[in-house]
């Protein structure tokens, strides 16, 4: 596949693996920033959420109490950057009592095994 926006017209499969909750550290927000840039460069981007990373997609987040920027709405901007492949690990959701139907963006619940399989098909995997 080629793209005028992609560096050297090359497109690679990028997967960003998110394992940390959204507001206890900067990793979730800064990882999302890379994902947006990768999308802007027309790359084939997937986002995986597992362990406490599934909390990043919980709906109705409100950070007013801690005075930080509520970057969770940026997940909805991913589509505008051509990024729509979001995966949440089923086991992580279940362990935390979360429901895939109640997330702030559409994300496909996948079993850990299937997620591992998906990872092997990527060209670049970044873990945060």
């Amino acid at each position: 596949m080629t793209s005028k926006v992609a560096p050297n017209n090359r497109i690679k499969k990028f997967m960003f693996v998110n394992r940390k909750p959204p507001h206890g550290s900067i990793y979730a927000q800064e990882a999302l920033e890379i994902a947006l840039i990768a999308g802007a460069f027309d790359q084939d981007v997937s986002l995986a959420f597992l362990d406490d990373g599934v909390y990043q997609l919980v709906a109705k987040q409100n950070t007013q109490g801690i005075g930080t920027r509520n970057f969770s709405k940026t997940f909805r901007a991913l589509k505008d950057f051509g990024v729509s492949k979001l995966y949440v690990e089923r086991e992580s959701l279940q362990a935390r009592g979360l429901d895939a139907a109640n997330l702030l963006v559409e994300a496909a619940p996948v079993a850990a095994q299937a997620l591992a399989e998906l990872m092997t098909r990527q060209d670049v995997v970044l873990s945060f």
């Binding site: 560096p7 990028f14 920033e33 890379i34 970044l126």
Partner: protein
């Protein structure tokens, strides 16, 4: 892919841990040095998250302790590495070159020689051009 046509591979390195608190940045340095010594090519070392602190010239390491920022500078000089510090992560953490400092009205700058400020696009480009992107972080 590793045992392909060429004996040497093109690598890109991503350093997400700061030089003092976590070992990850030290491992990144040792890995990068070993790869270069073996003859592999390192297209870029991209510093993100707290990794940007590797680019300071103002750290003072106790005499008997490892001075990772200095080690990166020396490795960078020896192998003419592209040591790129992410602009947004660096701004947030107060790692600035003179141009950034001036632009944002700061009264000082601290980026070490041999490092440069770069956008996230440089990370994506490096990941595309390299055969492998190796990520170091906690």
């Amino acid at each position: 892919m590793w045992a392909g046509r060429n004996k040497f591979v093109k690598l890109a390195i991503m350093v997400n841990g700061d030089p003092f608190t976590h070992q990850a940045a030290g491992t990144a340095y040792h890995f990068t040095r070993a790869a270069l010594q073996k003859g592999h090519e390192v297209l870029r070392v991209f510093f993100y998250h707290d990794g940007v602190h590797a680019g300071t010239r103002l750290n003072v390491a106790p005499q008997d302790e490892r001075d990772l920022p200095r080690l990166w500078r020396e490795l960078g000089k020896q192998y003419r590495l592209d040591l790129a510090v992410c602009v947004s992560a660096a701004q947030r953490r107060g790692v600035l070159d003179s141009r950034e400092a001036q632009r944002h009205g700061k009264d000082g700058d601290n980026l070490a020689p041999g490092f440069r400020i770069a956008g996230l696009g440089q990370l994506i480009e490096a990941a595309i051009d390299a055969e492998r992107l190796v990520v170091f972080g906690d």
